[in-house]
Symmetry: C2
Subunit: 438 residues, 2 copies
């Protein structure tokens, strides 16, 4: 079948057209046999990188196609990152998407030479990450965590939780593309029963299944972005795995929040799905149980369109599905997160990335972290090679997702995968005491 004839119902058909950055030649060091989302690559400099658009199991060199067709967007598309396209704004985003749709349907003969099988290319981090913020917006996740760590608390949610989307800044320099190995972090940890902290590789290495939102259009410092301007600033979304070392995190996080328990790596999918591909996935968020201040009020009479997205996530460890978190269950929407993030006048920059927070649904098989799935290690799950409470070296974690699209066809969100590898401990002592998060 010619590359442009994607099978009917393919989640990466012309109705989707997510953006990525690739170079020719598959990455020999990749963990991904399929060539999809295959790691940060080696030996490929920015000069070799091209903007690609996924079509079925191929990638279209968008810049080459634009140049061949004399498109006015060739300059935006012949770049080594998506950042210039992100910065171009909503009208340009729509125009480029409309053009791409025409190229892969009407101008098939012209663009066919610029299609490459995914297995023949290396995918790279598709944009330069400016600031990275992570939220905490699933009520089910927050309640699970509260019950695990504060079992005696009157309410498993902190008092502020229903009044604002809680968030914090993460490390943008360690955001990596799907397929990149994740070195097990070392650090301090201390169980309540330990007389002193010990040092060593994390023994409670976890995942957090999230959706990441990518800022295109910046905003000036000293101004805020209202809920209704969400689609003027956010270009699209990706899948995100917020790797978390629970033992390091438990010891360090009071009073200033997560730091080294998170900053060693955050993985994102290689494909950025434009919001324009997700119109059929929009849904109303869960009913609000507390009145919201006006800047966060997304009730139906305040908004033209619902703020939630129906994204069906699947988490697998070594190929075995362990959970299927529904993004539609998130209490706080991406528009509310954006309004919150800027309400104090903080500026936005092109390439800012913000994560939804762990996506956990109401039922046990919809939990978005191993912390919750194994209830802090007390209820391990079975894999063919043994039980898992937390991640072992060699484990490959993959998040995939899809959304409802036009005419019942799915919109594929690609995948974010990463394999755990043991790392050298450059300095310090290795501890041997029993570790209990708390």
């Amino acid at each position: 079948m010619p590359p442009l004839d994607v099978p009917e119902g393919d989640p990466f058909g012309p109705h989707n057209l997510p953006y990525g950055v690739f170079s020719l030649g598959s990455d020999a060091g990749s963990d991904s046999g399929s060539g999809t989302d295959s790691g940060s690559g080696t030996g490929s400099g920015p000069a070799d990188r091209r903007i690609g658009v996924r079509l079925g199991d191929h990638v279209l060199d968008a810049g080459a196609a634009a140049t061949a067709l004399g498109s006015p967007y060739a300059a935006l598309l012949t770049r080594p990152t998506l950042n210039p396209l992100l910065a171009a704004g909503r009208t340009a985003w729509s125009d480029v998407r409309r053009a791409l749709t025409a190229w892969v349907t009407v101008h098939r003969d012209t663009v066919a030479p610029f299609l490459y099988p995914l297995s023949s290319v290396t995918l790279h981090l598709p944009f330069e990450v400016a600031d990275y913020v992570d939220f905490y917006s699933s009520e089910h996740h927050a309640r699970n965590v509260g019950q695990i760590f504060r079992p005696d608390a009157e309410d498993s949610l902190t008092p502020n939780w229903k009044h604002l989307p809680i968030g914090y800044h993460g490390r943008s320099g360690t955001v990596v593309v799907s397929g990149t190995d994740v070195v097990r972090p070392s650090g301090q940890r201390k169980a309540p029963t330990d007389p002193a902290p010990v040092f060593g590789p994390s023994v409670r290495l976890d995942i957090e299944a999230e959706v990441g939102f990518v800022i295109g259009v910046p905003s000036p410092q000293g101004t805020s972005v209202p809920l209704t301007d969400f689609r003027d600033h956010v270009f699209g979304l990706c899948l995100l795995n917020d790797w978390s070392a629970r033992d390091i995190q438990a010891w360090e996080y009071v009073p200033l929040g997560p730091f080294l328990g998170k900053s060693f790596a955050t993985s994102v999918s290689a494909w950025i799905t434009p919001l324009d591909a997700l119109d059929e996935a929009r849904v109303a968020p869960p009913e609000r149980t507390h009145p919201l201040l006006p800047y966060l009020d997304d009730s139906a009479d305040a908004m033209d369109e619902p703020g939630g997205y129906d994204l069906r996530i699947s988490i697998s460890v070594n190929g075995h599905t362990v959970s299927e978190p529904p993004f539609s269950s998130m209490y706080w929407t991406a528009a509310q997160q954006l309004a919150q993030m800027t309400v104090n006048g903080a500026s936005l920059r092109t390439g800012d990335l913000y994560g939804s927070g762990t996506v956990s649904g109401p039922s046990p098989d919809q939990r978005g972290s191993l912390l919750e799935l194994t209830w802090n290690g007390r209820e391990p799950f079975e894999l063919p090679d043994g039980k898992r409470s937390f991640l072992e070296d060699g484990d490959l974690v993959t998040l995939t997702a899809w959304a409802p699209g036009p005419n019942g066809v799915r919109v594929g969100l690609g995948e974010v995968s990463g394999r755990i590898v043991s790392g050298p401990i450059a300095s310090g002592q290795v501890g041997s005491g029993p570790i209990v998060s708390g």
Copy 2:
């Protein structure tokens, strides 16, 4: 007096030579009458920006001087930011500094045409900030905060405090150069007695006097940087004001740490002082009261040189000195902070910035925040125009500092200043209830 003849004892003599970025023409919008550290400027694009080295009350166009003298470092110095110089590494840093010293002493006639009075230039953010991390490393500050917010606690320090330098990520996109106005942030706050949170401009706007360290040489993800490699990675330091909205912070920060209470603005001085200018300022840090894990052990027998710096900071509000925090009293050193920040394998990038945390000394007139100076507003101080618990619109806050240099001459660290301006509230309701942090 010719510009190159700086007065004897001038803190910006040839023994100092801090680096900045400037453009010609003073910034009409600046708050700073002196032209020093005069704001982010308007109408000057990166193409107009030049690397400058401060000498007395002049700035040397370092790139022009290097070009005129046929220096091999001309390419590094004819850039709009310091980042390429930062990335060049310790040997290049020493060589460039040696060359600059020769230019302003031996090659005076050649470089004289490239000197400009500070009053005739606009100073810019001197480097592109990659990630920004803020620490919490003054024991006096941490104990003051603990006593203010947790008066009934057995220990004013959290259990982890003496075992690791606590830190968190801040927003790098809102780091601004000295002289930039700071728009009073709005946000949610809720006093314990309020039935529900209210929205409005912060009424507890504060400062935090800090020292910022600037990463030059990157490190790969999956590796850590030992204490002894500090000077191979850190280029120099600056003054830093970590503006803080205490009411917003108090309501939001449990459980994930500071976010909007800090992310609206962080100001840094326009001059980056290279570590090589501060050799005479090195001092031993305070005696360690708890044993340290090997990766943080900076005892005399583990280190070639002491890890502390004797920097004398002064805080003024509207020109009146309100505090003089001593940096030598910091419990955790910048080398320990760097080792901590990377011990989990987090990479470093050129342009990473990390703040020391609020510098507070042991005595009441050495406290580095208004929160501490006024004991959470209960003990206001007097200014000619009235009392201050926290900052009023129009207040100009300036931090200055100096360090002991060679032959008893001071090394000036420049200044970081900012004026509070009221901002528009783009959306939301203004609350009127009484606010108490807690």
